[in-house]
């Protein structure tokens, strides 16, 4: 099969569009027992913070219909240990690396960018702005256009033009297109859609919220229609902005759906928990589907669902449910 699967997110090039999702592959090491990391498009690492963090109390997960809630609380070793131990190991494996960063203040994001900008072997930064902003009433950065903009702006200034910046947005907003507009204007090279939806499960035995952290993030196939909608809306509004799609992708068909909606790359998250090889399986299935559909390049499939749309614009996609 001579199909060209390569893709770009801003200036970064990847041999295939299928990546791991942040927080669902740790720093890659554990997955390497199941397939060579260099065979997929890229490893997106667990969001790293400036300091080491123990995370939230357990239980940290609850299974839900076709999905799950997690409330890890960004447990991690901190940026210094990450740069010293994890990056070199991934480089050694020949993997493409996208580092996800997270902070509680605008400055923390800038600090992370400063620490990372001269580290060799990184293809892009994913800026996870779905964390509570301690400076602004604890409101999640990605839920507020001004805070979203401030984070990306700060990171962009530090990074300069060197590394592509992908802003990861939350679906828990009234108007995701408006948030995408802000981060793109602030200099993001692309957007990652979507992070988890805020959810809760109550344990009917104990009659208390099941998770130690009470609320958690909903992921998995259950949320795929929300992710596809978000990708479609943002691609429609900004056809030139590359999108890294994610949310419930479990098969090549699902990745293809996101690509048709407008994604240039697709991350596989929760599916890895059910199938350690999921990322590679998705990639192989996608290749077969693209070939069957007669595409010779991945690029030509990106946003394909919009093409025929241009003809019948009268029925607006900005409609609601019932």
């Amino acid at each position: 099969m001579s199909i060209d699967l390569s893709t770009t997110l801003g200036p970064a090039w990847f041999p295939t569009p299928i990546f791991t999702a942040s927080g669902c592959a740790s720093s890659g090491r554990e997955l390497a027992q199941f397939f060579p990391l260099k065979n997929i498009g890229a490893v997106v690492t667990k969001s790293i913070m400036v300091k080491a963090r123990p995370g939230r109390p357990t239980p940290r997960m609850a299974e839900t219909p076709s999905g799950m809630l997690n409330s890890i609380g960004l447990q991690g070793p901190g940026i210094d240990s990450f740069i010293a131990n994890d990056i070199p190991w991934l480089v050694e494996q020949g993997a493409r690396i996208i580092v996800s960063i997270a902070g509680e203040t605008v400055d923390e994001y800038a600090t992370l960018a400063r620490r990372l900008r001269s580290v060799p072997g990184i293809s892009a930064l994913e800026v996870n702005i779905s964390c509570p902003n301690v400076e602004n009433r604890g409101m999640v950065f990605a839920c507020d256009p001004v805070s979203s903009r401030a984070v990306i702006d700060g990171v962009r200034r530090i990074i300069g033009g060197d590394l592509p910046i992908i802003a990861k947005l939350s679906p828990d907003v009234t108007d995701i297109v408006a948030i995408a507009r802000e981060v793109v204007n602030a200099g993001a090279d692309g957007v990652a859609l979507i992070n988890t939806l805020l959810g809760m499960v109550i344990n009917t035995e104990t009659m208390r919220p099941h998770l130690g952290g009470k609320t958690g993030g909903l992921s998995g196939p259950a949320i795929r229609p929300v992710a596809v909608r978000a990708i479609y809306q943002v691609h429609q509004a900004f056809p030139k902005v590359p999108i890294l799609g994610m949310g419930g992708v479990r098969s090549g068909r699902d990745a293809f759906e996101m690509i048709l909606a407008g994604a240039s790359g697709v991350s596989v998250g929760t599916a890895t928990f059910g199938n350690p090889r999921a990322t590679l399986d998705v990639q192989e299935e996608l290749e077969v589907i693209l070939t069957e559909k007669g595409f010779t390049t991945l690029r030509s499939a990106v946003g394909f669902a919009h093409r025929q749309d241009r003809q019948d614009r009268q029925d607006s996609p900005e409609m609601s449910g019932e």
Binding site: C24, S26, P54, P59, M61, M68, G274
Partner: protein
């Protein structure tokens, strides 16, 4: 860590038999060559619910007994309590059914290089990995005593063949329906000192493991316990299964029970803050 799960494989395993034993199901599955790498204390992660399942996560089960001989080649025995929807589905799978499994996973029980006197303590289906462990210990010349406990007699899993592999077996039930009335920890100190126990191996509910740890520490006996935290991935990538573990420098780190466990040194687990900890100095 890079050697953990090194031999883990995702394979299709056939159910060879599924028998009800008390409140449990004893399920024998055929796994082929991967059996060579399976040790007592390792676990298996099984996809549940079939092709169109709404359950997206695998379920973890301790390997009860591992055999690489016999007409079916490599086989694993699991002891499953029909608890919620996933384990009930598994218990409903009949002979011939195919399971999607990943195994062997996690850290196995450490086996002493010298012949020692070992005490194996199991609660409920926690006895599952202990019979396989007992066989291995006996083959290394160890003396093996076993204590099993449960709320009631039907929750004691103690197969006949299993009993043969231990030197002594005591059973405790809380409702006095069989064996000694009470809990496995009731006379543990006496048993340890009278039996001149060198090492305790345990598996069962967290509260039991915690109680054993306290006693083991006061008696200065090594305690290897197989913990059970709810796990989303089972392979170390999600961080849901963490336990607070004391480090050499006295700080507490949140360790993954799937990959830094399930077998852990009971003396290091910070039992008092399990499920509570939010801040530690790392």
């Amino acid at each position: 860590m890079s050697t953990i799960n090194r031999y883990a494989q995702q394979i299709s395993a056939q159910v060879l038999s599924n028998k009800r034993v008390g409140q449990y199901h004893q399920i024998l599955i055929s796994v082929g060559d991967v059996v060579k790498y399976c040790r007592p204390g390792n676990f298996i992660a099984i996809a549940v619910g079939g092709d169109n399942s709404s359950m997206v996560l695998r379920r973890a089960f301790a390997l009860s007994r591992v055999s690489d001989r016999g007409e079916f080649g490599g086989t694993l025995e699991l002891i499953v309590a029909p608890h919620g929807s996933g384990s009930r589905w598994l218990c409903s799978q009949g002979e011939g059914a195919l399971l999607d499994v990943v195994t062997p996973l996690g850290v196995a029980f450490g086996i002493p290089t010298e012949p020692v006197t070992a005490l194996l303590i199991g609660g409920g289906y926690g006895s599952a990995p202990l019979f396989g462990l007992a066989e291995v210990l006996k083959s290394r010349g160890c003396h093996v005593d076993m204590i099993l406990g449960a709320s009631s007699s039907s929750k004691i899993y103690a197969p006949l063949e299993g009993k043969r592999s231990v030197n002594s077996l005591k059973i405790y039930t809380e409702d006095s329906s069989s064996g000694i009335p009470g809990r496995v920890t009731d006379s543990l100190e006496e048993i340890i000192s009278e039996g001149a126990i060198d090492v305790i191996y345990s598996c069962g509910p967290m509260a039991m493991l915690s109680a054993i740890s306290t006693i083991a520490q006061s008696c200065e006996v090594v305690h290897q316990c197989a913990v059970e935290e709810s796990m989303a991935c089972g392979i170390g990538v999600c961080m849901t299964c963490v336990l607070p573990v004391r480090q050499d420098d006295g700080s507490i780190a949140m360790k993954r029970s799937c990959i830094d466990g399930p077998v852990m040194d009971g003396a290091n687990v910070a039992w008092e803050v399990v499920g509570k900890i939010q801040e530690t100095k790392e």
